[in-house]
């Protein structure tokens, strides 16, 4: 089954073309990695899938589980199972992680969540990610290190149980041990999700792909995919840089 299908997508931010006839098909239970130099539109892709109003779709279509979501509100996309782990998760002072997640989960399930069940689920996710047990009572990402913020994104993923997961540079800010923990948690979720899940991971480095093993690796240049391969392509990019792909694309 096709999970996410992007057809000839053109996107502008601040009146500047960022995605140019971008295409990708992601099936259920597939992991796709996207790599590319800075400024080629990788994060814009992540944002437009989630529905950020920064992005103006000028043409093309994003189809999720068979339905066009071009005009779907951000919160509706989330409730329907799309999740974006952000490159720079923001800090919101005064709103605790547990309060935020409980509101989010209640919104998704369209019913009030029992406190006991919620706390149990949250504590389990916190333990899996090796986070401090005080984390639920702290303000969202306040005083969190870069690595803790990324772990918090994965805790949120585990609580909300999405089907289409977009990971925008989830590896940045993570130390070696944390990278392993985050990678393992994402793969555990992916492998044990009975309803099926798909992952689109945006990264600069192949190290995270040792844990989150992609079926496909795509290279983006100038707002579109110019080359597709397997994990070996990621290793080749690390070794040779992007120049050889730029040469091929010319």
């Amino acid at each position: 089954m096709l999970m996410l299908n992007i057809n000839d997508l053109n996107v502008k931010i601040n009146n500047q073309n960022i995605l140019n006839n971008f295409n990708i098909n992601i099936n259920n239970n597939e992991i796709h990695a996207i790599m590319g130099p800075n400024g080629v539109g990788k994060s814009t892709l992540a944002k437009v899938i989630m529905g950020s109003d920064e992005c103006e779709i000028t043409s093309g279509e994003i189809i999720y589980k068979g339905l066009s979501i071009n005009k779907m509100a951000v919160e509706e996309r989330s409730r329907n199972g799309i999740f974006l782990a952000m490159q720079s998760p923001i800090e919101i002072d005064g709103v605790t992680n547990s309060e935020f997640l409980r509101v989010a989960l209640s919104s998704k399930l369209n019913k009030n969540i029992g406190l006991y069940d919620f706390i149990k689920k949250l504590e389990s996710a916190i333990s899996d990610l090796n986070m401090n047990e005080n984390m639920p009572h702290r303000s969202i990402n306040k005083g969190f290190s870069g690595g803790e913020r990324k772990k918090n994104e994965i805790i949120q993923m585990k609580i909300l149980e999405p089907a289409m997961i977009v990971l925008d540079e989830i590896d940045s800010g993570l130390d070696v041990d944390s990278l392993k923990i985050v990678g393992k948690n994402i793969m555990d979720y992916f492998n044990n999700n009975f309803n099926g899940a798909s992952i689109l991971i945006i990264t600069h480095y192949p190290r995270i792909l040792e844990y989150i093993k992609p079926n496909f690796v795509h290279i983006m240049l100038d707002g579109k995919i110019v080359k597709t391969g397997t994990y070996e392509l990621a290793l080749e990019v690390e070794k040779r840089g992007y120049d050889f792909i730029k040469d091929e694309a010319r």
Partner: protein, 270 residues
């Protein structure tokens, strides 16, 4: 004027009457004031915590709080009511320290807040939050009357509907206030058709003073809203969370008042 003395954690009331209630909680004294002028003297070698609950309706109130030498007072002020003109003055003596956390929900209020840093090395930290859908004016005067005095004033406000929320904050450091430090940090979120004015003023008469101020009036950051909505939270709930976070992020609310204040903030959507 009623006089209340709080000495070494013991509340000694002179002129105690039906309008002033003092309850002892395990860690803080709890003071309910719903009328009259009140003079409170606080003197202790130990830290003192006081919760002051003021409910006003259609009247003027004068409160003076004197913090004696070497006394540290943690004060939580909770103010509710309607149509009020209030004056509150804090007088700090030598080495006195005052930490105020305050939440105010009064419709149509004009409050004059005076902080007199009279003693050497006295300091005040003032954390204040308010939400309104009517007119509110807060005039603050912080006078550094002696050397090595510190003031840190942090104010947060959310205005809704057609509210007008004004903060006039005046920090005044006399020549006698050498080596003092002054900080003002004021932020207001304006929603709907509401308006706000912040007038931060610093009157500095000595070159040894370290002074800072910031004043921001604006909307919530669209990135914050996007983040919350990207987790399935509706726009309305996202605003509620952000408002609550904005108002409570700056103040420390004692457990005994937590539920009441959350309910108070939520009432703006009921």
């Amino acid at each position: 004027m009623n006089t209340i003395k709080i000495i070494d954690n013991k509340v000694i009331s002179n002129g105690y009457n039906d309008n002033i209630y003092i309850n002892d909680y395990s860690k803080s004294s709890y003071l309910t004031i719903d009328k009259k002028s009140v003079f409170i003297i606080v003197a202790s070698n130990n830290d003192i915590s006081l919760v002051m609950d003021c409910e006003y309706n259609n009247f003027e109130q004068d409160i003076i709080i004197l913090i004696d030498d070497n006394t540290k007072l943690n004060l939580f002020e909770y103010k509710t009511g309607l149509n009020v003109k209030g004056n509150i003055t804090y007088v700090l003596q030598t080495n006195a320290k005052l930490i105020i956390n305050k939440f105010c929900d009064i419709n149509n209020v004009e409050e004059n807040i005076k902080i007199l840093l009279n003693g050497t090395n006295s300091s005040v930290e003032y954390f204040f939050s308010t939400i309104c859908n009517s007119n509110k004016v807060y005039n603050m005067y912080i006078n550094h009357n002696n050397k090595k005095t510190n003031s840190n004033i942090m104010v947060r406000g959310v205005s809704l509907k057609k509210a007008i929320l004004n903060f006039n904050i005046n920090s005044d450091v006399a020549e006698s206030g050498s080596e003092s430090r002054v900080n003002q940090d004021s932020r207001v979120i304006v929603l709907d058709d509401s308006t706000s004015v912040i007038s931060p003023k610093l009157f500095i008469y000595d070159n040894s003073i370290e002074a800072r101020h910031s004043a921001v009036i604006g909307k919530f950051n669209s990135a914050d809203l996007f983040y919350l909505k990207s987790r399935g939270v509706s726009e309305e709930n996202a605003f509620r969370l952000l408002i609550k976070g904005f108002l409570l992020g700056v103040i420390t609310v004692p457990h005994v008042k937590n539920y009441e204040i959350l309910k108070n903030i939520s009432s703006y959507w009921e």
